[in-house]
């Protein structure tokens, strides 16, 4: 298997190459065997060292790896009887998102997955996972179907953003996303969202409101892509590594900010290095959360969904402000000034 590797993975690739060279020798002396053992150890150590200390930008790169498992890979591995349903019944079928019904441990579920390609050809067909309004409307149609028949909903997020194009604007990209967010809040079935790769902005949130939001270890989720942010705030796309750091977009950051509920671990080096392990981990997380959520009453579900989103945000209230006034007379002077400005 020759995986595309990033610059920061080069030390690993070099060791791997040496190791496989030695291993391919037909006659191995005791010295060679010792060297193999030694290299193996060194390789593991190097991997742990590199993958254990990934920068935000390196994780963004892993999240974008062309061999990274896509929504359909997870769907095929985790569900049975996957039956894809096409089209929004209004305009078209958007291949950038797959929707359908399946069984999860014999429970019927509705599945929505933003779908990137595995190669350039598929990426062109799937528009790199960038949805059009009809994609958001298709997803909502399937989610409403789930609501009608009380199927839990599982969403896989993997998009560089909603598509910015003429047709998308003409057909109301903003309205489609806004309406989806609002309507997803009212669905009377459990919604579990898993961010498996890229979660860019409204494009992700447009199908991303959930009772539980899970995130793969090397996925990213943010209001804007690091490149987009860099080109606006730094006026230079090359500053993306810096903006990735500043935006706090990794799974660890988001857990700390209480925007996600749990991080799903990936095999060392990313999901693409051992997809089976990634599928297993996602399966386990889905299973436990689904069981828990299905025991909740509809009222409880919606109530908790409301609370989850209602509390997100960081701001200062006046009470907190008053702590900034060390001396009371300053405070009362300010209050007096207030009175005057009102009068």
């Amino acid at each position: 298997m020759s995986l595309m590797i990033y610059d920061f993975e080069k030390p690993i690739a070099e060791l791997e190459e040496k190791l496989s060279e030695l291993q391919s020798l037909s006659e191995k002396t005791p010295e060679t065997l010792a060297e193999i053992a030694n290299l193996r150890e060194k390789l593991l150590e190097t991997k742990k060292n590199i993958y254990g200390n990934l920068t935000a930008w390196q994780r963004v790169q892993l999240a974008r790896h062309i061999a990274r498992p896509r929504s359909l890979d997870y769907i095929n591995a985790i569900f049975t009887d996957w039956t894809e349903l096409h089209g929004d019944r209004k305009f078209a079928d958007d291949p950038a998102v797959v929707c359908g019904l399946a069984h999860f441990e014999n429970i019927p579920v509705a599945v929505v997955g933003q779908q990137k390609g595995k190669d350039t050809r598929e990426n062109l067909r799937r528009n790199f996972g960038m949805m059009h309004p009809e994609g958001y409307r298709k997803a909502l149609r399937i989610m409403k179907l789930a609501d009608k028949f009380s199927f839990p909903i599982i969403v896989f997020i993997d998009t560089p953003g909603a598509y910015p194009g003429i047709g998308a604007e003409e057909r109301g990209q903003a309205e489609a996303i806004a309406y989806n967010i609002k309507e997803m809040f009212t669905l009377q079935v459990p919604i579990i969202v898993v961010i498996i790769g890229e979660g860019a902005s409204g494009g992700a949130l447009g199908v991303g409101l959930g009772d539980v939001v899970l995130m793969m270890e090397n996925a990213w989720y943010c209001v804007i892509s690091p490149e987009g942010c860099a080109s606006i705030l730094w006026r230079d796309r090359a500053m993306a590594p810096q903006s990735a750091e500043a935006l706090k977009l990794t799974a660890n950051d988001l857990l700390e900010l209480k925007v996600i509920d749990e991080i799903i671990p990936e095999p060392l080096g990313g999901a693409h290095r051992d997809p089976e392990v990634a599928f297993q981990n996602v399966y386990k997380a889905l299973s436990s959360h689904l069981q828990r959520l299905m025991q909740k009453s509809v009222d409880q579900l919606i109530n908790e969904r409301f609370k989850k989103y209602r509390q997100i945000g960081v701001f200062i209230t006046r009470q907190d402000n008053s702590k900034n006034f060390s001396d009371k007379s300053a405070l009362s002077a300010a209050a007096k000034k207030d009175e005057q400005s009102r009068g």
């Binding site: 910015p164 604007e169 109301g172 903003a174 806004a178 967010i181 809040f185 945000g313 000034k337 400005s341």
Partner: protein, 285 residues
């Protein structure tokens, strides 16, 4: 942290009137560059009589335009922005906030409150583009949500006057989540059958357009306002072709079915009160 010591706007009437006294007699239209007699321009609600360009209004000018004199009571005055990510680009976010607060004398990019429109009591949220491009971070999200909740509690129709370049990048994922928070607040208005009218002004794009701005029971726009999801520059770069004439302007968006009415500024108050007369059972005070 100078801005914390700013006066709080518990105002009964829109302040800063003195700012609007012309310092010269003439005004140059930002769009057609015609020189206008300032008095005429202002009598025409800051709309250019030559080219119909609707110049941006501050939130106070907007409140003055729409809300009956002396009836506006600002709420949610105790909420100020923080810098949750410790964000620094070419300058620290905290410094950007401070500068914006100094420039606008606002806590953040939205003012909320209640008042009457031709006698109809409403809750109103008005955005101000001067404050970091009207971007939505935690404060805008929280104030808009509280404003909608206040309306819910007091059974008041809601007007949201929008102008925004989108979500506030410097608050990262937290600003994205304000789209969820405000859209959920709209869902709750819907559920309680509280009328919700949005007024889109130049420009209303990205995160704000992809949340509460799009979701009005009635969506009104001022003429020639830029309205959309992605900015025209981003679209142009992506597709690498010339954008159609009038692309993403109010009339274009209306033609494509996402705006109910495009209304000239001088008709805006009247249109709102007519709409309110359909939705509210109580007669005007």
């Amino acid at each position: 942290m100078v801005w914390f010591r700013k006066k709080k706007y518990t105002v009964l009437e829109a302040p800063q009137k003195k700012d609007r006294i012309p310092d010269g007699l003439w005004h140059k239209c930002e769009n057609c560059l015609n020189i206008l007699y300032k008095k005429d321009f202002e009598a025409n609600f800051k709309v250019c009589p030559k080219c119909n360009y609707h110049q941006r209004l501050t939130c106070w000018e907007r409140i003055d335009l729409l809300i009956d004199k002396g009836t506006f009571v600002e709420d949610n005055v105790d909420i100020y922005p923080a810098d949750p990510l410790g964000f620094v680009d070419s300058k620290p976010y905290s410094q950007r906030l401070e500068e914006a607060q100094k420039k606008t004398e606002l806590a953040d990019a939205v003012v909320t409150g209640s008042g009457t429109i031709n006698g109809y009591r409403v809750e109103i949220a008005v955005m101000d583009f001067r404050f970091i491009g009207g971007s939505m971070g935690s404060v805008v999200g929280e104030k808009v949500t509280r404003s909608f909740e206040h309306a819910l509690e007091h059974n008041l129709p809601v007007i949201a006057v929008c102008t925004s370049g989108g979500a506030r990048m410097q608050e990262g994922i937290l600003s994205l989540m304000q789209m969820a928070k405000t859209s959920i607040a709209v869902a709750r208005l819907n559920e309680a059958r509280i009328p919700y009218i949005t007024v889109l002004t130049h420009p209303t794009t990205a995160g704000v357009m992809a949340s509460f701005a799009s979701l009005g029971d009635v969506v009104i726009a001022e003429p020639n306002a830029l309205i959309g999801f992605a900015g025209p520059r981003v679209i142009q770069q992506t597709i690498n072709q010339i954008l159609p004439k009038g692309f993403q302007l109010s009339e274009f968006v209306c033609e494509h079915g996402f705006i109910d009415i495009v209304v000239h500024r001088k008709e805006l108050k009247k249109t709102l009160s007519t709409l309110l007369s359909f939705f509210t059972k109580t007669s005007p005070v």
